[in-house]
Subunit: 177 residues, 2 copies
DNA sequence: GTCTATATTGTGATAGAC
DNA sequence: GTCTATCACAATATAGAC
């Protein structure tokens, strides 16, 4: 069965945003990558702002699922968060980097969505670690990894191997060592 | 004496990029903010790519000076780096966030400049701390702060007060406590 | 639901006066 | 060095056929 065009369009949008940058994610480029015409795209998303909204909603859903996994992870939320903060080209990676790029381009909806998911991750870390400062430091290390992912995505780099030495440093931050 | 128009233009470009996002930093908006006409701007920077180059060069200069200060800081490079990684609206903050936004919009020159200054900061941390993993973790915390600055700039938030609790965590990472 | 064709606007860039 | 006027093109959006 055919994947719904609406989903293919969001896939293409996230991919162009994360791999080529916001300037290259034009409606025409997205339509072409999704295999539809510009008019076809605009049937599903009547304006670019609505397309942005669509990706923000997808990120919100994917991030909420991730927070659930994080809260119930046997290794603890800190290690889980750091281990999964590497760019691996997953749907959530592309959605997150895509929304970050939209936010930095100046789209208000992306600003709000990025802030919201960021706060949810931080809260899960605070609840799991207990200590505010340690949770914040772990969050910052993860943010740093995402920031580096913003570069890595454009360069086509993948950081597939979770870094054991870094995880050891994280254990020192949380006091688990 | 009148500040050179060329510098005013770069100031305006960095400010619009960091405070309103890349989409709003059009040649017309930059010219208006700098108090010149579009034609006047294009005398100094014949194309948008040259304007981007100009900001990248400014960042490279400011970052090189900062690396010097960092290497000779009495508190050590780690604490210096973290303490100055907060968004405070300084010229270097605006240049750095501005270039980050250009990079994520898809400008290749910004990609190279951001990568270069990032590597120089990391090298200063490695040289100062000794341990590779610890230096990398400190760099990631600083990157995380910059990543948060990408949000804070748009929201007009300033993180003027260096966070003592975070600096204490950094000491634990570097083994200085 | 998807297409083609077209309208509208914004953006980067040029030409030439002063 | 800076301006005004204008250009060419690209990006978003609309209209209407199928």
């Amino acid at each position: 069965m055919m994947i719904r065009a609406r989903d293919r369009i969001l896939d293409a949008f996230a991919e162009l945003l994360s791999l080529e940058g916001e300037r290259h994610a034009t409606l025409e480029a997205v339509a072409r990558a999704a295999g539809v015409s510009k008019g076809g795209l605009l049937y599903h998303f009547p304006s670019k702002d609505r397309l942005v909204d669509g990706l923000c909603e997808r990120l919100t859903e994917l991030a909420a699922e991730d927070v659930q996994r994080m809260r119930s992870a046997p290794e603890g939320p800190a290690r889980y968060y750091i281990r999964t903060s590497y760019w691996a080209g997953t749907p959530m990676d592309r959605a997150l980097v895509g929304v970050a790029r939209l936010q930095q381009a100046g789209f208000a909806a992306a600003q709000e969505a990025a802030k919201s998911v960021s706060e949810n991750w931080l809260q899960a870390l605070v609840d799991g670690i207990g200590d505010q400062s340690a949770a914040r430091a772990v969050k910052l290390v993860g943010d740093g990894l995402y920031y580096n992912a913003l570069f890595g995505a454009l360069e086509g780099r993948h950081h597939s191997a979770p870094d054991d030495a870094l995880l050891a440093v994280v254990d020192r931050i949380t006091g688990t060592d």
